[in-house]
């Protein structure tokens, strides 16, 4: 039996992905779970696993090609299986300058092999469409009436951006289309922007924009801040680090994660997700850690953190950070998409207090600032102490302010009685 391998969706907002690298070659024997390819999304690079056993019969999308989620990228099956000829979706060109070809245009001169399956990027949409509206590669997706009107008006259909399902060029697109100067045949030379030009957003920046806007528009945030006395935790940490003879060190952030994890075990409501008429509970705590990369922010999760000791968390976070920076492997799809609660830490920049944006569909995120020496009141005396501010951003649909305060005070008590971190 022949199995289609399709571009997977590695997050709700992922619409397309690039084959960064094939890890298997045509003819290789594949077992379910084998790493097939590295997929580059607008966030990061993820390894993709095989979901079927068999021989990798054919790779239909080459390395470096950007395709829509759901596009067939390879076939796995028995050596005698027939491979379907039809390719469901055309490849999206990497470059916007790639001219698109229209099937009813005069036959082009022999082109490089991939060209006949290439479409200009704006011909491929972000929404899935069940029906196949353009038959083979190389065709522009336009409705018949749109083509008819374009022909009547003398508009080159390939220059019209499509806004219909699957980015199909619709009647309205053609009717509202104004050819821009650079496409006009009036001989006007192209103007080159030198100053005050716009900066196109990277795909990662666009993804961050989408996710944060979605979060702030869908999820009603509120914020509760506690000041945590970190004196005992800092002493505990130095003692622990001295005792660790393998050279590893536990960071303040590791303790924060452990305290969040134990607090979530006690108040699992905050480890759920709002979904219309219900809260979806999660049996694992996958704790997201905001990591600032040069390209932008990602929030991969430490998976199953409720079962980890403080030292194990420390190792797991270090490993997560390395892989996020592309050292020693890549982040998995689950780590990038299955977080159940978030943490963010700007302590290294000296930040006192800040509030983070919840990563949908999580119920909350705890943002911590730097541990600072400050005057505190201890038994009626003002002494020098160490404090850290923690702010929870909570989804009001999941729980109310009092509940967030109780949860955060559990977090606070855990850090102020650090022996609890060893439980």
């Amino acid at each position: 039996m022949i199995n289609e391998v399709t571009m997977p969706s590695m997050g709700a907002d992922m619409t397309e992905g690039t084959i960064a690298k094939w890890l298997k070659a045509e003819g290789d024997q594949i077992s379910r779970g084998d790493k097939l390819a590295e997929i580059e999304t607008d966030k990061t690079v993820v390894e993709m696993e095989a979901y079927a056993d068999g021989v990798l019969r054919r790779i239909t999308v080459e390395e470096g090609s950007l395709v829509q989620v759901g596009t067939v990228i390879a076939y796995i099956g028995d050596p005698e299986d027939e491979i379907p000829e039809a390719v469901s979706d055309p490849v999206v060109a990497e470059s916007d300058t790639q001219p698109s070809e229209q099937s009813d245009a005069p036959a082009p001169a022999p082109a490089p092999a991939p060209a006949d399956s290439v479409l200009a990027k704006n011909d491929i949409g972000t929404e899935p469409i069940a029906a196949v509206s353009s038959v083979a590669g190389g065709r522009v997706k336009a409705s018949p009436i749109a083509r008819k009107i374009a022909a009547e008006k003398g508009i080159d259909i390939t220059t019209v951006p499509g806004t219909g399902p699957g980015s199909r060029i619709t009647k309205a697109d053609v009717e509202n289309f104004t050819p821009s100067a650079q496409f006009a045949s009036s001989g006007v030379s192209r103007s080159v922007a030198i100053d005050g030009s716009d900066t196109p957003l990277s795909s990662m920046r666009q993804a961050i924009a989408r996710v944060t806007v979605r979060s702030k528009t869908e999820s009603p945030h509120y914020y509760v801040t506690h000041e945590v006395n970190m004196g005992a935790a800092m002493t505990f940490r130095s003692q622990l680090n001295e005792a660790l003879d393998d050279g590893s060190r536990v960071s303040v952030n590791d303790m924060v994660l452990k305290a969040v994890a134990t607090s979530l075990v006690k108040y699992p409501k905050w480890n759920s997700s709002f979904d219309g008429d219900k809260l979806v509970g999660h049996s694992e705590i996958n704790l997201g850690v905001a990591i600032a990369l040069d390209e932008g922010l990602i929030v991969p999760a430490v998976m199953g953190i409720q079962n980890m000791s403080l030292v194990e968390i420390s190792q797991a976070v270090r490993d997560l950070g390395s892989r996020a920076r592309g050292e020693g492997g890549t982040l998995t799809q689950d780590e990038l998409t299955k977080g159940t609660f978030g943490t963010s830490n700007l302590g290294m920049f000296g930040t006192d207090t800040f509030a983070a944006i919840i990563v949908p569909p999580n119920a909350g995120i705890i943002a911590v600032g730097a541990v600072k020496e400050k005057p505190i009141v201890d038994n009626g005396n003002v002494v020098v102490g160490q404090t850290m501010n923690a702010t929870i951003s909570a989804d009001h649909r999941v729980g109310d302010g009092a509940e967030a305060a109780i949860f955060l005070s559990e977090f606070q008590k855990t850090l102020e009685n650090p022996v609890r971190l060893m439980l």
Partner: protein
């Protein structure tokens, strides 16, 4: 205009015919003593007597055959099935005989017979009593098939069906017998073979017939709430099929969702879709969208039956998928 029930509209049409034309008589299971499975012929036996209101045995093939003979001999029989699913046992009489007699006799023999039958699912009658075989019968040349969606059309169509000199199937959606609608006291007829543009709009055309008009109207309301102008077409007649009205509409709206409440595969809308793609493709602003009930035996379980039956959500999903509306 007075508001009356769908079953009352049918009753009015039948009663007029019985009163005005002595050649008209009725046959069927439980139409006399019992008053009809859906109470359409309630009181007829008392009023018109057993000569004209004939309770039959469970013998569809026999009483359709008797109807054909009576029609050929000059009477105007109205035959009732308890369910259009039971037409299956009489298919030889309907398809081979009734539909072909005029042609085979070189026009010497007409069969002016009406066959009435409740059709469709939704009333928990199980797999063998819930089907919609007007879709099969609509394919046969020589018989006409109509299926009203409201009391006004039910009365107008039954009047024309009884007057017509050909065999006419009147498929009556079982779910609609209790629906109310405005029906004027003044006499009117509805020509067989004419679709009705039941709502006029410019952005999308929704096409259905019979019970399917209920999800269509509901979906049209939803789409209009979102600011779209919706045209709805009730085919009313499946044979002859009024494709012209649909074509005209699509030249205006450029978008279309075809809605069967019968099973999707082989439904009437499959035929409509084929005609549209051949004759109107250059007017379309996207795929011809088609929805219908799921291709499974009709469940008895209420929840499952509703799940299988076409609803407004299916229509809206098709509009969203095909046209981003």
């Amino acid at each position: 205009m007075p508001e009356i029930l769908f079953r009352e509209a049918l009753k009015r049409g039948l009663q007029e015919a019985l009163e005005n034309d002595p050649r008209v008589f009725m046959m069927g299971e439980d139409i006399g003593e019992y008053g009809g499975a859906y109470a359409v012929t309630d009181g007829f036996l008392e009023k018109f007597g057993p000569e004209r209101i004939k309770d039959t045995p469970i013998s569809e093939q026999a009483f359709v055959g008797a109807g054909i003979g009576a029609a050929a001999a000059g009477l105007r029989p109205i035959v009732e099935f308890m369910s259009i699913s039971f037409s299956l046992v009489a298919f030889d009489q309907i398809v081979n005989m009734a539909a072909n007699l005029r042609y085979m006799s070189g026009g010497q023999i007409n069969v002016p017979m009406v066959i009435r039958a409740p059709t469709g699912a939704g009333v928990q009658l199980g797999a063998t009593h819930s089907q919609s075989f007007e879709t099969w019968l609509a394919e046969v040349p020589g018989i006409k098939v109509v299926c009203p969606s409201n009391p006004y059309d039910a009365l107008g169509l039954i009047r024309s069906a009884i007057k017509d000199d050909n065999p006419v199937i009147v498929a009556e959606p079982a779910l609609l017998y209790g629906d109310k609608g405005n029906v004027p006291d003044e006499y009117y007829e509805i020509e067989l073979g004419k679709a009705d543009v039941s709502r006029s709009g410019t952005d999308i055309t929704l096409v259905s017939y019979g019970y399917g008009m209920r999800p269509v109207n509901s979906a049209a309301d939803s789409l209009e709430e979102r600011g779209h102008s919706v045209e709805t077409i009730d085919l009313r007649s499946l044979n002859p099929l009024d494709i012209e009205t649909v074509l005209t509409s699509i030249q205006k709206t450029n978008r279309v969702v075809l809605v069967d409440s019968a099973r999707r595969t082989g439904g009437v809308m499959a035929e409509v879709a084929a005609e549209l793609q051949q004759r109107a493709s250059e007017w379309l602003d996207g795929p011809i969208m088609r929805v219908g009930s799921i291709d499974v035996p009709w469940p008895y379980n209420r929840g499952l039956e509703r799940e299988v039956l076409t609803d407004a959500g299916d229509v809206l999903a098709a509009a969203a998928e095909g046209y981003g509306m």
